[in-house]
């Protein structure tokens, strides 16, 4: 795509702004900021990726994945107000899913060990793990509050925190996995996934693009499951204080 063609797409932003002015939504300023931020961020990451792909060094690739996982953990951990030490726990859960899924893909030689493959696939895995983590933390609090009486009964019978919070964590894991499972069920029917669309637009064979997309879809399902289960295991103790009393 030429720069001229790209510049033409700014017409979409202008159209959105005109609609905002017409309906007096007051969103014009936010739209300009969003468009500028997206352009700067994407151009910047484009040059960073070009440099990393060119250097092709494992340390640089690992550093890039580390930065992505830290940003994702920071973003997701904002959802768990009241749970101390969220960032580290979310980062560990995201890292566990990235290591397990990406590690498997590399070890089985499903994808080449090249930054051009590792970084985009990691981005999708980490992004999905971030959404699953945020949903999990949000749901965990709500479930713990809704099932507080049930937890008190179990605690009063001598349950350990893991026994008392078992149903709460299970419900939070299930609801945080639903978006991933639902989007997998409707894939190809409701939406053409981003990566596949990108490959097709870039001229790749659609069948080859579908194969890569299926690889990602299956990896994302495993990633959501690993992230939420690890996060559940790491966060359930925070629902209780030292005397095994509900703390949320």
């Amino acid at each position: 795509m030429s720069l001229w063609s790209l510049a033409l797409t700014l017409a979409f932003v202008a159209a959105a702004m005109l609609l905002s002015v017409w309906r007096r939504l007051g969103l014009e300023k936010d739209m300009v900021i969003a468009a500028v931020r997206a352009t700067v961020q994407l151009l910047l990451i484009g040059y960073v990726l070009k440099f990393i792909f060119h250097v092709d060094h494992a340390a640089l690739t690992a550093a890039m994945v580390l930065v992505m996982s830290c940003v994702a953990a920071d973003n997701a951990s904002r959802r768990g107000n009241g749970l101390a030490g969220r960032f580290c726990r979310v980062w560990l859960a995201i890292a566990a899913s990235e290591i397990a899924t990406q590690g498997f893909l590399l070890a089985a030689h499903v994808v080449p060990s090249k930054p051009a493959y590792i970084i985009p696939i990691s981005g999708m895995i980490i992004g999905n793990a971030m959404v699953a983590s945020a949903l999990f933390l949000n749901r965990l609090r709500a479930e713990a509050q809704a099932r507080r009486d049930e937890m008190l009964v179990l605690l009063s019978l001598g349950a350990t925190p893991i026994q008392a919070s078992g149903a709460v964590v299970k419900a939070a894991v299930k609801s945080s996995m639903i978006p991933t499972i639902d989007s997998t069920k409707t894939m190809g029917l409701v939406q053409l996934p981003g990566m596949m669309t990108g490959q097709i637009l870039a001229g790749a064979d659609p069948i080859q693009a579908v194969r890569y997309q299926l690889l990602i879809v299956f990896a994302l399902m495993a990633s959501a499951a690993i992230t939420t289960l690890v996060l559940g295991f790491l966060t359930y103790p925070r629902l209780f204080n030292e005397y095994h009393q509900p703390a949320v």
């Binding site: 009486d149 049930e150 008190l152 009964v153 179990l154 605690l155 009063s156 019978l157 001598g158 349950a159 350990t160 026994q163 149903a167 005397y243 095994h244 009393q245």
Partner: protein, 243 residues
């Protein structure tokens, strides 16, 4: 025990208990009476560490509750809550809950139901579908199945008819006689408090204002609060700030 318990509500300190002081002799039944919200339920929760005092200490068999292994304490000091919350699953699941938590053999569920006059057919029913009175009896049996040595009862017969309440009363008193069970029994039913209690404590506004042998408490109340309670002149919501 000698405890204070307060919570912060709307930025203000609200005292649930203020300097409650007392001791219970093993194998005896203490009935706790007083207006709603006086702090009776909080007092029970302190005994099995579902709440902790802000000041003071609660001793169980000579050990402060915070020094006990929590599971061991809660197993030996059983609590039947005011609201009979059922765990998900059937009645049988509820009765077996304690055994499953402690990885032990499940109790004789039919025998347990017989103790409170409930039919064995109830075992397969979803616990959430029971009536209030049935739930209350299942909640009691669920705690008794854990074989506690101290039993904390919070309005445990409030939803029962007279006949069912008498069966529960007899069951608890039999455990007291035969097994030396110690009971702290919160109730608004003064006749029940008089029937089952060896000692009665009157809790008003977070304080124990009178604690005496039950017969003496009802026959010759010493404090103005106790006299008003015995004469039926103490309104249920009067003198209550805690829960």
């Amino acid at each position: 025990m000698d405890v204070h318990r307060r919570i912060v509500v709307d930025g203000r300190d609200r005292h649930l208990l203020r300097g409650v002081n007392g001791s219970v002799t093993p194998g005896r039944v203490v009935t706790l009476v007083g207006p709603s919200g006086a702090g009776k339920s909080t007092l029970l929760s302190l005994c099995n560490l579902l709440q902790t005092p802000d000041e003071g200490a609660v001793f169980v068999w000579g050990w402060e509750v915070r020094q006990w292994p929590v599971r061991e304490l809660r197993r030996r000091v059983g609590l039947v809550m005011q609201q009979p919350v059922m765990l998900p699953g059937t009645v049988a699941d509820n009765l077996a809950a304690a055994a499953r938590l402690h990885a032990e053999a499940e109790p004789d569920n039919r025998g347990l139901l017989r103790l409170v006059g409930l039919p064995a057919e109830l075992l397969a029913r979803p616990a959430g579908a029971l009536s209030g009175g049935e739930k209350q009896r299942i909640a009691l049996l669920r705690t008794l199945a854990n074989r506690p040595e101290i039993l904390l009862l919070d309005e445990a017969t409030s939803a029962l008819d007279r006949e069912s309440a008498a069966v529960v009363e007899e069951l608890v008193l039999r455990r007291v006689r035969d097994e030396g069970l110690t009971v702290l029994w919160v109730t608004h039913d003064l006749a029940l408090a008089r029937r089952v209690g060896d000692e009665t404590w009157l809790v008003v506004d977070g304080r124990v204002v009178e604690q005496r042998p039950t017969a003496a408490f009802f026959d010759d109340p010493q404090s103005e609060w106790a006299r008003r309670l015995v004469r039926g002149h103490l309104a249920p919501a009067e003198g209550g700030e805690g829960t």
